[in-house]
């Protein structure tokens, strides 16, 4: 039977079972609820963003919304957000790794459990509560500021302020370092004790072990975690909204104000193209992650 006759048969009988006999029997049916859920609550909204980015107010096709991204103030906002993502990943990933190593070294089961639950909560803090905590500590009359002052170090006369790019980096690290600990710890536990013993039996120093075994194995996981931190800071909304007073242009904030209807109606669809721009940049940043994860997983006991 040729394909066409099969199709004709199907058209006559109308039975889906025959048309896709192969697909029907090989489709992973137990995964259907999962696929449906993701389709409806993830791909549908994301697809809507994509389509609406190319529409003008009357619903006609246009590139105008996309072109606007390459001009200020949106171009500036994208540059700022990328910069924030990169520096935040840098300032949080290194302490995060050192802490994960320290926790792994100390190794108590209770300590690990405690750190896991603390990190879980902190990784999800943000917004106004986080901003207020930092204001209470590092604000102009904060506890830490006063403490430093009594030690003879006046932070604010040195030009420090929380409401700046660097201030944002400090505040972000409060949730970024815990995220780093959460995502990087599994890589560390995959470093097997035997490898260290083998390397020292072969006459290597601890330094040599790290140079030739530890770092090469951890590097892909590190870069992958780094990129996750980038994505997290790049797209952080609540904290940025609470910490900036319109002095730093960031893409999530611009999307927020467009969605809140704080702007003229002719820019309504610009919010969608800004969101699309964020998606594209996040996906581009993740390409190395996916490639590296493949390499890293070779060494991870799963």
């Amino acid at each position: 039977m040729t394909t066409t006759t099969v199709l004709q048969d199907v058209a006559k009988v109308g039975s889906p079972r025959k048309r896709g006999a192969n697909l029907w029997s090989t489709f992973p049916w137990p995964l259907l609820p999962f696929f449906l859920f993701l389709a409806l609550f993830f791909f549908l909204p994301i697809g809507a963003v994509f389509i609406n980015s190319f529409k003008n107010n009357d619903g006609a096709f246009t590139f105008e919304n996309i072109q606007a991204l390459f001009h200020d103030p949106y171009r500036m906002a994208f540059l700022n957000s990328i910069k924030l993502g990169f520096y935040s990943a840098l300032t949080a990933s290194i302490p995060g790794v050192l802490l994960a190593l320290a926790i792994e070294k100390k190794g108590g089961k209770n300590l690990k459990k405690f750190i896991a639950s603390v990190s879980g909560v902190l990784a999800n803090t943000g917004g106004v509560p986080l901003a207020f905590m930092f204001l209470a500590a590092f604000g102009p009359s904060g506890l830490a500021t006063n403490l430093f002052k009594s030690l003879g170090l006046d932070l604010y006369s040195l030009g420090f302020t929380l409401f700046s790019f660097n201030g944002l980096l400090i505040v972000y690290s409060y949730f970024q370092i815990p995220i780093m600990i959460i995502v990087f710890t599994p890589a560390l536990t995959a470093l097997r004790r035997e490898w260290r013993d083998a390397s020292s039996n072969l006459g290597s120093t601890p330094l040599g072990y790290w140079r030739h075994v530890g770092l090469p194995i951890l590097a892909p996981s590190f870069i992958a975690s780094f990129l996750l931190l980038f994505a997290s800071a790049f797209s952080a909304f609540g904290t940025a909204r609470a910490m900036t007073v319109g002095n730093i242009a960031l893409v999530p904030l611009q999307i927020g104000s467009l969605l809140d209807g704080n702007v003229t109606i002719d820019k309504a669809n610009l919010g969608y193209s800004l969101a699309l721009g964020m998606i594209v940049i996040s996906l581009l940043a993740m390409i190395p992650y996916i490639l590296l994860q493949k390499r890293a997983s070779r060494w991870q006991v799963r």
Partner: protein, 258 residues
């Protein structure tokens, strides 16, 4: 000597981390206990919270949204991951990548899209947040369950139960769930922490939840808002502490098995 030095640098790192962790917490706690502009301390700001009409209402909304997200996570993710470990192995790579996507696609973008298009049966009710929280926490919940199941001889357990005549429902509820209970708890823990603190989706989809309520009320009373911030963080920890307490029992039996 080696051992001592090893632990010394770990201890120093942990001590610095503890200072960075607790300094804002302590400062905020002290600040929230101030009695107005005076030097005295009192619980006035905490009493103020309880006097706000929105407090119990918005906390209630958040708890209900959280409860639905937890149920959805359980019903959707546990059977899915179980099947991936019991015959669906060749789809694991695909699901690994799919469950990473919500971590990569910015939540702001998801919110933008959710405003445009969501299935009709939830669109326009506050419970749409629950469905979105399941998606956003999926990278963590999936991995927690996956790691838990990888560590158990699930196929053997299931084969044994089936041979003894157990139905699939029985296998699921009385063999699989108990044997991976700690990782189910770990997965739910992620959904709970996310639901308690999530601001972006709630704000951009214009829903009043506990976190958006804190944000709005912070403009009226800074001390009160700080008290709320401290209170909600401790509330999350207490909730999660109870949670780790609950999951102690199964962990114990899991250790005995090995």
């Amino acid at each position: 000597m080696m051992n001592f030095r090893k632990n010394l640098d770990a201890n120093i790192a942990l001590a610095i981390a503890a200072i960075f962790l607790f300094l804002p917490l302590i400062a905020a706690t002290e600040f929230s206990l101030r009695d107005g502009g005076t030097e005295k301390h009192s619980l006035i700001s905490y009493r103020w919270i309880l006097d706000q009409s929105g407090f119990s209402e918005n906390l209630g909304i958040t708890m209900r949204v959280m409860a639905l997200a937890v149920i959805l996570t359980l019903v959707l993710m546990v059977p899915t991951v179980t099947w991936l470990h019991l015959g669906g192995e060749k789809y694991k790579r695909l699901i690994d990548v799919l469950t990473m996507l919500p971590l990569i696609i910015p939540v702001v973008a998801l919110a933008t899209g959710a405003q445009l298009a969501l299935p009709g049966f939830v669109h326009g009710t506050v419970y749409e947040l629950s469905f979105l929280y399941v998606v956003v926490s999926m990278p963590y919940t999936y991995r927690a369950l996956d790691i838990g199941m990888s560590a158990r001889p699930l196929a053997t357990l299931v084969a044994a139960a089936r041979n003894l005549g157990a139905s699939w429902i029985n296998v699921m509820l009385r063999v699989i769930v108990p044997s991976i209970l700690p990782s189910i708890f770990a997965a739910l823990f992620m959904t709970i922490t996310l639901s308690l603190g999530e601001f972006t989706l709630a704000q951009l989809l214009h829903w009043n939840t506990f976190p958006t309520w804190i944000t709005n009320i912070s403009q009226q009373n800074i001390l009160g808002a700080t008290a709320l911030a401290v209170g909600s963080l401790f509330f999350a920890w207490v909730l999660l502490y109870i949670f780790t307490f609950l999951d102690r029992q199964p962990t114990q039996s899991a250790v005995n098995e090995e």
